[in-house]
């Protein structure tokens, strides 16, 4: 309950900060182009204030939230998945789409699998990653002829 209250206060502060940031940028707009953005930013900041007021003064806060079962979240896995995605996407234009994606698929599937690492346990993810890459190559490059991000490799 208290956690949700703090969470909402943080969200409302972020909302007000974004509104402020956007509002500064409206200074360069000329009428009538500035009306719509100003109205939207105004509504956004009002909603931020409403959320802040509710978070501070509303007594029955978060009663409904308590009824639901909390999710089983592994924080280590969360940050691994986010940094993994960031690294993968930043490496795509450097190494090439197919190579980076293949490596990403193998590494993520091995690290998320709870099995002990052995030669046998590595064969399956490598085979699956290769098959997926082949299917993607066939679909996008050969059949649809859609360009994919290039790099040092393919």
């Amino acid at each position: 309950m208290q956690k949700e209250r703090v969470q909402d206060i943080v969200v409302s502060i972020i909302v007000l900060a974004i509104s402020f940031l956007f509002y500064i940028n409206t200074k360069t707009l000329t009428p009538p182009a500035d009306i719509f953005p100003k109205v939207v930013i105004g509504i956004f900041s009002i909603l931020g204030v409403i959320l802040l007021v509710k978070a501070i003064f509303y007594r029955k806060y978060g009663e409904e939230a308590d009824e639901e079962t909390p999710e089983k979240v592994d924080m280590k896995r969360r940050w691994f998945s986010i940094t993994g995605l960031l690294a993968y996407i930043f490496l795509v234009p450097i190494l090439g789409f197919y190579v980076t994606s293949g490596i990403y698929l193998v590494l993520v599937s091995i690290s998320l699998n709870d099995e002990k690492i052995s030669v046998k346990s590595l064969v399956k993810p490598i085979t699956i990653a290769s098959l997926v890459m082949l299917a993607l190559y066939g679909t996008f490059t050969v059949f649809l002829r859609v360009p994919v991000p290039g790099g040092i490799f393919i």
Partner: protein, 512 residues
């Protein structure tokens, strides 16, 4: 006209034409299922392949692919919570919860059947009412488009999670994302915060892929579940689901009609139709609280509405020569390449091809039903893939899907940014639905507003423009109704609850 329609039907039932249409429908289902590959892209890629075909067959191949792609979006929406096409966004709201409940097969079959019904209703309107409907669509100017977008925004109430305020914050944030890029009046850059490449604005498709697929990928990775849902093949599920879906004629027909009307409006399309129909079905439902938690009506309404737009989006194109949607614009190219002139003369000078194309759309829907029923058995197997393989595969598809829209890494970075933002927003109870809705409607609302403001400089007052046309008045009334009805229903529900608790109270408690 009836003779020409019959001739058209017979031509489209030619074996070689049926074969080509079947292949195009299958290709459409695949294109629609893959996030990022839209119906527009699929149709555009197929156009060169139709050069060697006779005009009717070529056009039917394009129409079949469009029909298949519109349904295909539901597969990924239901199975992995990532809409394959923007039109399938509303399908995720109840489709994925059904998968989590172990009812993926039911959701997929329902989506298929609803798509076919929507497609047929839309085509019937295209056949019999295209001219009056095209004239109605022409009545939609900037002020009408503005009010349509405002009406669409009232749907946020239906899409918000536990908190309406946070749902509204999400929706308005989506509107603000739509502001990024070029100012529609002066053409100068705005809200790019120093990133010059953002001048092109936030493209809907990568943003949508990001908001839906990346939070899903992270969620799948952070939880230690082996599969996204348990699934066991059930005997007789096909027959049972088909009967159950056909027992919902009101939801099917209302959503198909909404899809037909919204689809023919230039600038709207399947995504807006899906949202509007979802809102209306929830509003008329006896169990509105079940929506978003796996109510099958949510899948029925979204899919019948978006597939109804396939044929109705062709109404302005075929009758007036005006393409009302990106796919219609590509199809216009297809018509011109085959030597056909869309507009009033299409039905007189090239009536054979025109009626074959229209009747062929009915056949395409029947083919979709047959191929979809066969395909569902395979699609549903996707949830049997262990999470440690499925999650990174979705990530890879999200990257290639975002990149292939404009061959730009910027779109991939936008997808990633929106995805990570969407993940943390979801953690604080801001669902992705309202954000994407705001992004979709923001552009329509702003263009409508700014163009109206410019029109007012020619002498007509803003009041006359915004508040006096019959379509504007109807849309304003619908907006008011959409805002008031949930409040009234809520009040009535509370009153009923109070009455019930008073009746249930033991006598000794009265008066303390």
């Amino acid at each position: 006209m009836l003779g020409e329609l019959l001739n058209g039907l017979l031509t489209s039932l030619n074996i070689s034409t049926l074969l080509i249409m079947s292949l195009a429908t299958m290709a459409g289902i695949i294109v629609g299922t893959l996030p990022g590959l839209s119906a527009t892209m699929g149709v555009a890629l197929l156009v060169p392949l139709t050069f060697g075909m006779d005009p009717a067959t070529g056009l039917l191949a394009l129409g079949s692919l469009y029909t298949g792609a519109m349904f295909g979006g539901a597969n990924s929406a239901i199975l992995i919570n990532t809409p394959g096409t923007p039109a399938a966004v509303a399908t995720t709201f109840d489709g994925y919860p059904l998968t989590q409940k172990g009812e993926a097969d039911k959701a997929l079959i329902t989506a298929l059947l609803a798509s076919v019904v929507g497609g047929i209703v839309g085509t019937i309107f295209l056949i019999f009412l295209s001219t009056p409907l095209a004239n109605f669509a022409l009545g939609f100017g900037p002020p009408e488009n503005f009010w349509l977008a405002v009406f669409g925004l009232t749907i946020i109430g239906s899409l918000a999670g536990r908190s309406i305020t946070k749902g509204l914050i999400g929706g308005i944030f989506g509107l603000m994302l739509a502001l990024i890029g070029m100012d529609p009046v002066s053409g100068s850059t705005r809200f790019t915060f120093g990133f010059y490449s953002l001048i092109e604005g936030i493209n809907l498709l990568p943003a949508m892929i990001g908001f839906f697929s990346i939070p899903q990928v992270i969620k799948m990775m952070e939880q230690k579940d082996k599969y996204i849902a348990k699934y066991e093949e059930r005997k007789g599920i096909y027959r049972k689901t088909i009967i159950e879906t056909l027992k919902k004629p009101v939801v099917l027909l209302r959503s198909s009609l909404i899809g037909t009307f919204v689809g023919m409006l230039p600038g709207a399309g399947g995504n807006v139709a899906g949202f509007v129909a979802y809102n209306e079905t929830k509003r008329f439902s006896k169990k509105p609280k079940e929506f978003g938690k796996g109510n099958i009506d949510g899948v029925v309404t979204s899919e019948s509405a978006n597939n109804a737009t396939v044929s109705s989006s062709l109404i302005p194109l075929l009758t007036l020569g005006i393409p009302g949607s990106p796919v219609a614009a590509v199809l216009l190219g297809g018509l011109l390449i085959h030597g056909l002139k869309p507009g009033a003369k299409l039905f007189t000078e090239s009536s054979g091809v025109a009626y074959t194309f229209i009747m062929g759309l009915l056949v395409a829907n029947v083919l979709l039903l047959l191929l979809g029923l066969l395909g569902t058995r395979f699609f549903v197997k996707a949830i049997a893939i262990p999470v440690h393989y499925l999650a990174p595969i979705i990530g890879v598809l999200a990257v290639i899907g975002s990149y292939s829209i404009r061959n730009s890494m910027l779109d991939v970075f936008v997808m990633l940014g929106c995805g990570i933002l969407g993940y943390f927003a979801l953690k604080v109870d801001i669902p992705p639905g309202p954000i994407v809705l705001g992004l979709v409607l923001g552009v329509i609302a702003e263009n409508g507003f700014v163009l109206s403001a410019l029109l007012s400089k020619t002498g007509t007052s803003m009041f006359t423009l915004f508040f006096t046309s019959p379509i504007c008045i109807v849309l304003i009334l619908l907006t008011a109704l959409s805002l008031i009805t949930p409040l009234l229903l809520n009040m009535r529900g509370r009153k009923k609850e109070n009455d019930n608790t008073e009746v249930d109270k033991p006598i000794q408690n009265i008066g303390g």
